[in-house]
């Protein structure tokens, strides 16, 4: 987006599901801020920002603790209930930072997930309930991830008395506070994070939510058409 460049990658591994949610897979999101973006990110410098971005993304994409309201359907990742499931690792890398990192990462993750193909797995039928069942990972057949439910993130930055969408680094340096809202295709809010120190009037937050919904409709349409175009290109190759 503009001068902000981010890369998102999705890796899937077989693993054991969480004891508290045996019928759901696991998704873990991590963002790394590389020093190529900003010299201050070297070593421990970018750690705080990484944690903030990772938490915000997890909040927006994974929903509540019971797994409801999540953008990614976790039960589709389960293979054998309670024993084997897919562990999805989503990694984001910030290559060039010119403001509005969260929105760019959200869009990148959505695109990466729509390009993800989970291989089909066959479970050996006569596994006893105690042992680890044998799984045969197929190289041929793949399952496409369903990304229609994944939300996009819109960050509204309050500068003075106005709010702007998609702030560059220059504009972000002047901000008093920012609200990142994640909206999905049905127009429901999947997550909201307020950043920045200054206090905000509650009516302003409600106003921002309606603006975000309006902007998100355009963004989702644009993203989906871009992703479809990119995939069509891939198939031709």
């Amino acid at each position: 987006m503009g001068a902000t460049d981010v890369i998102a990658s999705v890796k899937a591994e077989l693993g054991k599901p969480n004891a508290s949610h045996p019928d759901k897979g696991r998704v873990s999101i991590y963002v790394d801020c590389s020093p190529t973006a900003e010299p201050t990110f070297e070593g421990r410098g970018g750690e705080e920002l990484s944690i903030e971005l990772s938490t915000a993304l997890q909040r927006c994409l994974l929903g509540g603790k019971s797994g409801a309201g999540a953008g990614i359907d976790l039960s589709s990742l389960s293979i054998v209930e309670g024993k084997v499931c897919w562990d999805i690792y989503i990694d984001g890398l910030v290559v060039s930072s010119d403001g509005n990192l969260l929105d760019a990462l959200g869009a990148a993750i959505k695109a990466a997930l729509s390009n993800t193909a989970i291989p089909k797995v066959e479970v050996a039928a006569n596994a006893s309930s105690d042992e680890q069942p044998e799984v045969d990972v197929s190289d041929e057949e793949f399952l496409q991830f369903d990304t229609t439910g994944i939300p996009v993130i819109i960050t509204l930055t309050k500068v003075g008395r106005h709010y702007i969408v998609d702030a560059t680094a220059e504009e972000e340096s002047q901000m008093s506070s920012a609200v990142s809202i994640s909206v999905n295709r049905q127009g429901r809010i999947c997550g909201l994070t307020k950043r920045g120190g200054a206090g905000l009037d509650p009516s302003i937050i409600l106003d921002m939510i309606s603006v975000a919904k309006h902007v998100s409709e355009q963004l989702i349409d644009k993203l989906d058409s871009e992703i479809a175009a990119a995939e069509a290109c891939d198939e031709e190759l």
């Binding site: 903030e52 929903g63 309201g69 809010i189 307020k194 009037d201 309606s210």
Partner: protein, 256 residues
Amino acid sequence: MAGKISNTPATYTPSPTSQNKKRPSIVTGSDWVRPDGRGLHQCRPAFLRTGAVNSASGSAYAEFGNTKVIVSVFGPRESKKAMMYSDIGRLNCNVSYTSFATPIRGQASDSKDLSSMLHKALEGAIILESFPKTTVDVFALVLESGGSDLPVVISCASLALSDAGIRLYDIVASVSMSCLGMNLVIDPVSEEESYQDGNLMITCMPSRNEVTQMTVTGEWSTPKIHEAMQICLDACTKLGMIMRSCLKEAVSAPEE
């Protein structure tokens, strides 16, 4: 069940008018009976005490049902030599869980995440220009986690800051709300939190009517968010009044 409501005000509920409007929509759908018998829009009784830790500049202890938190504030202290000069003060926050805080031993939540959220909630309320070149340290310890931990930590931290004499724009009160199916439940217990479909946490300064922090997880429709925000802000105002009365008690008691 923890029922230690010693000499501080008992349950506080949001204003009756808002409750009457919401009741029809809450009762439809699955009727959730709360484990401790509270109403859906009723917060837990709050027990607040300042001056819990003698060696700290300021400290506070808060008990909301089963959630027990102690916060101590040290400062303003000299900043470490490695840090650059700054003409406003610095705030350093740290939240940690004791190993016996959760039902399963050692199951610490992501405390780094909570520390940064506490920082963001408080930095909007502290007048940092009043202590340049120094650092104020806020250390929070969750003794028992009974649900809705972060809001309790934030409210307790702002009490501790006032006890330490740090200048604030206003005290910070924080309340969280869970969405369970069709119902909106305020101040959830850990059992309710594990079933929740969504969570909304608001931190605000009641007298200034300013929201310093707000986080929403899960899927919400806009009218639900409006409703939830209204109820939470109401509860924050009431909590703010309780915190103020606690501070006044602490000041008037030694004079007797």
